[in-house]
């Protein structure tokens, strides 16, 4: 069997706080294979963002094994193995959209021509051609978040980690961006880990849905989606979709009672 791209086994993470230690993650096991679209879903405090940050090497587990591309998360971060999309777009207001997308390329010392080529390519990928010279504050929230996705794609890492990227956007914009993310995933064949608290979003996007619950943060269910790769928005009315959504909801409820 092929080795998973992201391999999490027996991961624990405890944060010390003033009110004593908080167990953010308890005994988490998860394998993510190449080309998977995996969603982490759960109520706040279930550790979904913490798990994503552990994979990114932004937090360090207190116990357990975690490898990304066969490396430790810190090594993988230093090898620039992933692009990370945060909850807010976090574009730098002193840079244009093009300048923001170029930021990782400058830090990674791509040549000037390569920078320009890649900026054009990824802006086209997120439908932002022609906005290169605009400043972030001149764009809507949805466009800013698309620019931040372009920024994460610019250096073409195989893995894309997304932390509730559309959480702050309205439903209509979110639907549109979900469609775009799926297209992007089909075109680029990246491995995507996606944190959300929306059941329809998780079911619509994922090949694998990881249901989590809080106190302590843990995985309560992992659902392999039988939905086809090609997914029009209408698929959300199909019986299969509703059935998976049901199972996710049951998993979330069970976690809440337990």
């Amino acid at each position: 069997m092929k080795k998973p791209v992201i391999d999490v086994s027996g991961v624990d993470l405890t944060f010390p706080t003033n009110d004593g230690a908080v167990q953010a993650l308890k005994n988490v096991d998860l394998q993510i294979n190449k080309g998977d679209f995996v969603s982490f879903i759960g109520p706040s405090g279930c550790g979904k963002t913490t798990l994503l940050r552990c994979i990114a090497g932004l937090e360090t587990p207190t116990d357990g094994q975690l490898t990304v591309n066969g490396l430790t998360p810190t090594e993988a971060r230093k090898a620039r193995s992933y692009g990370y999309v945060f909850q807010a777009a976090g574009l730098y207001p002193w840079r244009t959209i093009g300048g923001n997308v170029k930021l990782p390329l400058e830090i990674m010392r791509f040549s000037k021509e390569e920078q320009a080529k890649r900026v054009r390519k990824v802006l086209e990928l997120v439908d932002l051609e022609g906005f290169e010279k605009k400043y972030p504050w001149q764009l809507s929230g949805g466009m800013q978040q698309r620019a931040s996705i372009a920024r994460a794609l610019a250096f073409d890492a195989d893995i894309l980690l997304m932390d509730e990227p559309f959480g702050a956007l309205d439903e209509i914009v979110r639907d549109h961006l979900n469609e775009q993310v799926l297209k992007l995933w089909a075109r680029t064949e990246k491995t995507i880990a996606f944190v959300t608290h929306s059941i329809p979003e998780a079911v619509y996007l994922s090949t694998k849905i990881v249901v989590m619950s809080p106190r302590p943060g843990r995985i309560t269910d992992i659902i392999e989606s039988p939905l086809p790769k090609e997914r029009p928005l209408e698929i959300r009315d199909s019986p299969e979709f509703i059935e998976i959504a049901h199972r996710v909801r049951d998993g979330l409820r069970a976690g809440h009672e337990g």
């Binding site: 090497g57 932004l58 990370y84 730098y92 002193w94």
Partner: protein, 258 residues
């Protein structure tokens, strides 16, 4: 709805009020027969400026160009440089900042006679007083600015495996600039005070502070007022210049977007 002031109105209102004050002053002085030694009429001050233009110019060069401006750039550069060093090493922030705050609490003009003793009567001692005066606001503001970038923006730089210098150049220094400009604006005001007051404790036979003390001794208050008027004008111009540069450089800041 109230219309926004036109360019003409923005200038006309303050100029009009300023002229009104001058006219009332002039009338008051003549009406109540105020002794010119106590308060000369604006027309007398104007006449003093016109007849002593060469002297006033020499004083201005000595105090503003040599004393204040040299002090500003030396003190500002030193403040910014130390801020960068303190920011880099945590133990300095813990050990040095309390000491720095203690020194900032010293009434710095009290140091002026000592500076005159150390650096001589010419502009060097005045620049030293100014440098010390502007040093602390620049240090404190730059340090505050360097911590202005939020956690998410820093995490973003970590996901690019950006080093300390890259993070400084691409994120933290640009984010700090609005704070640095606040420090600079405070500095321009302090610098004139420092340069003039330092001359009270010894100077060659030119300089605005020198002129104010000697002319006061001769009860030639029209010259004293002439110097005060010119220093006020200079302070406003310096402040305006910094504000103008600030608007150009930090055009992206919410307070300047338009």
């Amino acid at each position: 709805m109230r219309q926004k002031d036109t360019q003409f109105e923005r200038i006309a209102y303050p100029v009009g009020f300023g002229l009104l004050v001058l006219v009332l002053w002039e009338i008051g002085v003549h009406l109540f027969n105020v002794s010119p030694a106590l308060l000369p009429a604006p027309s007398a001050i104007g006449a003093a400026i016109a007849s002593s233009a060469a002297i006033l110019w020499g004083d201005w060069v000595q105090t503003v160009l040599k004393g204040a401006l040299n002090g500003i750039w030396m003190g500002s550069l030193a403040g910014i440089a130390l801020a960068l060093v303190v920011d880099r090493f945590v133990f300095l922030k813990r050990g040095l900042m309390p000491v720095a705050n203690f020194f900032a609490a010293l009434p710095i003009v009290g140091l002026a006679p000592i500076m005159v003793m150390w650096f001589g009567f010419d502009w060097h001692s005045k620049a030293a007083v100014v440098a010390i005066m502007v040093f602390f606001p620049m240090l404190v503001n730059t340090l505050a600015g360097l911590s202005a970038a939020d956690t998410m923006q820093r995490d973003l730089m970590r996901t690019y495996a950006a080093g300390h210098v890259a993070t400084l150049m691409k994120l933290r220094i640009p984010a700090a600039l609005p704070f640095v400009f606040t420090g600079l604006k405070i500095s321009t005001t302090l610098a004139l005070i420092g340069a003039i007051v330092a001359e009270y404790f010894g100077s060659p036979i030119r300089g605005m502070g020198f002129r104010i003390t000697t002319e006061m001794g001769r009860l030639a208050t029209d010259m004293v007022w002439a110097e005060i008027f010119i220093s006020a004008l200079t302070g406003t111009a310096l402040y305006g210049l910094v504000a103008l540069i600030e608007k150009r450089v930090t055009f992206w800041h919410p307070s300047h977007r338009g």
